[in-house]
């Protein structure tokens, strides 16, 4: 339990650094720390396959994309506050804790009835074998739709980032 507390602390701290650090590059690094923390949570939750996918796809592939774009664009570091933004800032700081409260009320009700499901884990819980069986039997159509989505996104990214000769 202590380990989980430490990971939770690191996850929340790195999330805060993502939002409040002025340099986008530092934000990217702290986002990688956050994603690794969530991968470790997956490990504690018997989701070994998702742990591997989180590290490979998120902390690997997607974050490399972010690092590339941040370094490519050479963004300005400082961002100054516009006058109209003070209201939005105040609303964000006010609404954030309210959002935590609302989500926690909704999730806590559900969490309290956990005694109703005391069953043990099946032997293949969270492994690639069981997820593959679910994906290719019950969720086959959705799986194919996801592959179409990836192809469309790939084509879209290539078309958007292409240099136009004019």
């Amino acid at each position: 339990m202590l380990v989980i507390n430490v990971i939770a602390f690191v996850a929340i701290f790195s999330a805060l650094m993502v939002v409040f650090h002025r340099s986008p590059m530092v934000s990217v690094v702290f986002l990688i720390v956050n994603l690794v923390c969530i991968a470790l949570f997956f490990l504690f939750l018997h989701a070994q396959f998702l742990f591997a996918i989180q590290l490979i796809v998120y902390a690997g592939a997607i974050m490399v994309l972010f690092v590339f774009v941040v370094m490519l664009l050479n963004l300005r570091k400082e961002e100054e506050l516009l006058p109209g933004w003070r209201v939005q800032r105040a609303l964000a700081y006010l609404g954030g804790p309210l959002l935590v409260g609302a989500l926690w009320t909704a999730l806590w009700r559900r969490g309290r009835s956990s005694e109703a499901f005391p069953g043990g884990f099946s032997s293949g819980f969270g492994t690639a074998e069981d997820i593959g069986r679910l994906l290719f039997n019950d969720y086959l159509f959705q799986f194919e739709a996801a592959s179409v989505l990836l192809v469309v996104a790939m084509i879209g990214a290539v078309v958007l980032a292409r240099r136009r000769e004019s």
């Binding site: 939770a8 993502v18 939002v19 949570f41 989180q54 309290r112 290539v158 980032a161």
Partner: protein, 99 residues
């Protein structure tokens, strides 16, 4: 124990991501905050999968990751296209389609 603690962590992470989307003006940081929120949802899914001993949520997390990858690719493509045109990735300056 773990299933009542982790949804709270996920709620806090989601709220931090939402605050980031509201207060940051750099388009790339806004995209990163959206990734933060998607991950918080994934964490909630995983903790309820653990609590209910059901693997369906793992499939949902798989699909959320697919959509997140597609969203990151297209989003960053848009940021590059806008930056090339305006030399800035500031979301306030992208106001052509705002009311």
């Amino acid at each position: 124990m773990i299933t009542s603690f982790l949804p709270l962590v996920a709620a806090v992470l989601f709220a931090i991501g939402a605050i980031g989307v509201l207060i940051r003006r750099n388009a790339i940081v806004v995209l990163m905050c959206i990734e933060l929120m998607l991950n918080a949802v994934n964490l909630t899914f995983a903790s309820y999968a653990y609590e209910l001993r059901s693997m369906s949520a793992h499939v949902f997390i798989f699909f959320v990751m697919t959509v997140a990858a597609a969203e990151a690719a297209v989003g960053l493509g848009i940021v590059i296209a806008v930056f090339r045109k305006r030399q800035s990735a500031d979301v306030d300056e992208m106001n052509l389609m705002k009311w």
